[in-house]
Amino acid sequence: MGFELFGLPMIYYIAMIVKVLVVFVFVLLTVAYATYAERKIIGHMQVRLGPMRTGWHGLLQPIADGIKLFFKEEIVPSQSDKFAFLLAPIIALIPAFIGFAVIPFGDTIEVMGYKIPLQIAAFYDTAAGKVVDLNVGVLYILALASVGVYGIVLAGWASNSKYSLLGGLRSSAQMISYELAAGLAIISVFMMSESLSLQKIVADQAGFGWYAFKQPLAFILFFICSIAEINRTPFDLPEAETELVSGFCTEYSSMKYAMFFMAEYANMVTVCAVTTTLFLGGWHGPGFLPGWVWFIAKVYFLIFVCMWIRATYPRYRYDQLMRLGWKVFLPLTLLNIVVTGLIAR
């Protein structure tokens, strides 16, 4: 490992590729099994069993679903805009996955004498003696979340179907209003950590100094806005089944539909990971378990909460949702920033 590239030992690049692979496979598996978990959890909340036939207690269900969707006929409506129709699922899916690049999912580990931080877009700067990561990690995530909405808007528009169009419209309006509130909610976190680097934010929360305790309002607001941004119940208006049939993905079938489906769940995983990182101390936890175990446990808990909410709440109406976003959440986040500015610093 004597080679160096751009002044960094080769092992850093190898480690990065390994991290990318591990995280990608992990997120992919989580996404697949989140669909299973959702059906099981909501099933049991609703006094039924959920999938039971494929494998032991239906454990092979996600694989069966995947195979089924893979082999289904691709239907592209004749009146649709073909290019945009194909592009939309890709735009929806990719940002959902690459958000994970900046999320620290564990402590720094040592491999062959080199320190490797468990975060994809980061390396250990031996000279400075600290981990260097993307210094605007949070902005990167917010930016990706904004890109993801284009997938849904494009899908709604390109399908050339009325229900899809309404779904796409709802989605764009919803995301714009909630992104703002979500962005403002985490400003108070930046004010306390004085950094946009996720490494720094996590480091600040060591020893149960979680921002969820210091910024409870921001935590709740951010989590709710996140749920709204990823279109989950009670904010699942873009695909409100009982109103818009399937909303933006009405005309989609086969793998293109599967991509939207995966994007939805990947978004949920990402959002829960971001919430964990920003508010629940990231990978920090009592020392008897390694950091990444704590990280996964917290993320999975938040995913469970998302599913719990879905089993409990009805759906908002479009205008009520907008009112909530602009008239309740936005002022509250601004107030929170002011209060944080006055008290915390």
């Binding site: 909501i42 609703q46 009325k162 419209l169 409100a240 109103e243 709440y313 908002y316």
Partner: protein, 390 residues
């Protein structure tokens, strides 16, 4: 911006929340509804015409299929109409069992209403819970009549058969669990902020308008009109039971929701009273012209067999005349208008289905609202296409 474009959307007949095969042609300005045109008839089977070629008993199974969520209420309205034409007295036991079954049917129908209404608004869990409870009533249906949905249990003059041993115990067991279940639904919905926001102020129709449109049942009472046929025009011995008729104030979906929930609790009370007053006795009127002979006679004596065969094949003559009999079905006033020319088949039968009249007000209730509101209005009207199209 000067010329506004209206988007016409076909909602149904295949749509997740049109409760069957209702088709609504909606004109939309954005998400705001400008015009709703209901198109019906996808489920038309010609029940009224069919009945003209069937004996009076043969029409009873057709009535099961009107409001298929409340078959016994349909049976009840029909047999009462025929009995009124015949002018026969129904034994008390038969009347009481009819009331028990009609109220269980009300529970059954309202359970489907709360399930679908909640699901339309997005609360999935209530849907599954309500269907679980409905299952108990379905099982009872099956035990008593042999069919889970198309019960065909009532007969002109009484009931098709005596209830099985342990019927009273079964009914008590079922209804004893119900108040707790209603609390569960209320816990999930009544004070739920999102539920309240979605239903309060939704689908408002004033009392005058409701009467003008011919709305009946819980939808009418939700608008503050204190009118319930069970109390105001009693039939089948309803005058003997104590129950309150809930009335709404704000004329909106939330009030109709509360009215129906109280109605479910009241139905449980009526069933309790009916069970307490249930005494042994005959279940068919003493009128050999109309009523089937007891099964022992049919199986053991030739006279009984001939008697049964005559009624089954030929039916019975009904005196000339016309009659209108209505009952308070779960969805509203279900009326049967029968004209007899003295033969064994109705000359004409006309059904006044509550859902049909209630659906007429949909544009009044949802115009100017959003698509999501329309879905809530369909849910709160509690329509069944089987009885709208007949």
């Amino acid at each position: 911006m000067a010329n506004k474009e209206v988007m016409t959307v076909n909602m149904g007949p295949q749509h997740p929340s049109t409760h069957g095969v209702l088709r609504l042609v909606i004109e939309l300005d954005g998400e705001i509804i400008e015009k709703i045109t209901p198109h019906i008839g996808y489920l038309h089977r010609g029940v009224e015409k069919l009945s003209e070629h069937r004996t009076y008993h043969q029409t009873i199974p057709l009535t099961d299929r009107l409001d298929y969520l409340a078959p016994m209420s349909n049976n009840l309205g029909y047999v009462l109409a025929v009995e009124k034409l015949l002018g026969i007295e129904i034994p008390e036991r038969a009347q009481t069992i009819r009331v028990i079954m009609a109220e269980l049917t009300r529970l059954k129908s309202h359970l489907v209403w709360i399930a679908c209404h909640a699901l339309d608004i997005g609360a999935m869990t209530v849907f599954i819970y309500a269907f679980r409870e409905r299952e108990a009533i379905m099982s009872l249906y099956e035990k008593i009549s042999g069919a889970r949905m198309t019960s065909n249990y009532f007969r002109v003059g009484g009931l098709s058969s005596e209830v099985y041993d342990g019927f009273e115990k079964d009914v008590r067991e079922i209804i004893d669990t119900f108040p707790a279940h209603f609390d569960t639904y209320e816990g999930l919905l009544t004070k739920n902020t999102i539920w309240m926001q979605r239903t309060i102020g939704n689908g408002v129709i004033s009392a005058e308008d409701a009467i003008d449109y011919g709305i009946t049942g819980p939808a009418l009472r939700g608008s503050g009109v204190d009118w319930d046929l069970r109390r105001d025009n009693p039939y089948s011995g309803y005058e003997k039971y104590n129950f309150t008729v809930p009335v709404g104030e704000k004329c909106d979906t939330y009030d109709r929701y509360k009215v129906r929930l109280v109605e479910m609790r009241e139905a449980v009370k009526i069933i309790r009273q009916a069970l307490d007053s249930l005494k042994p006795g005959p279940i068919l009127a003493d009128d050999p012209q109309v009523c089937y002979p007891p099964k022992e006679n049919v199986y053991n004596t030739i006279e009984g067999l001939i008697h049964h065969f005559k009624i089954a094949s030929e039916g019975f003559p009904v005196p000339e005349g016309e009659v209108y009999q209505s009952v308070e079905a779960p969805k509203g006033e279900l009326g049967y208008y029968l004209v007899s020319d003295g033969g064994n088949k109705p000359y004409r039968m006309r059904i006044r289905p509550p859902s049909f009249c209630n659906l007429g007000a949909i544009e009044k209730m949802a115009k100017g609202a959003m698509i999501a509101d329309l879905v809530a209005v369909i849910g709160t009207l509690d329509i069944v296409l089987g009885e709208i199209d007949r």
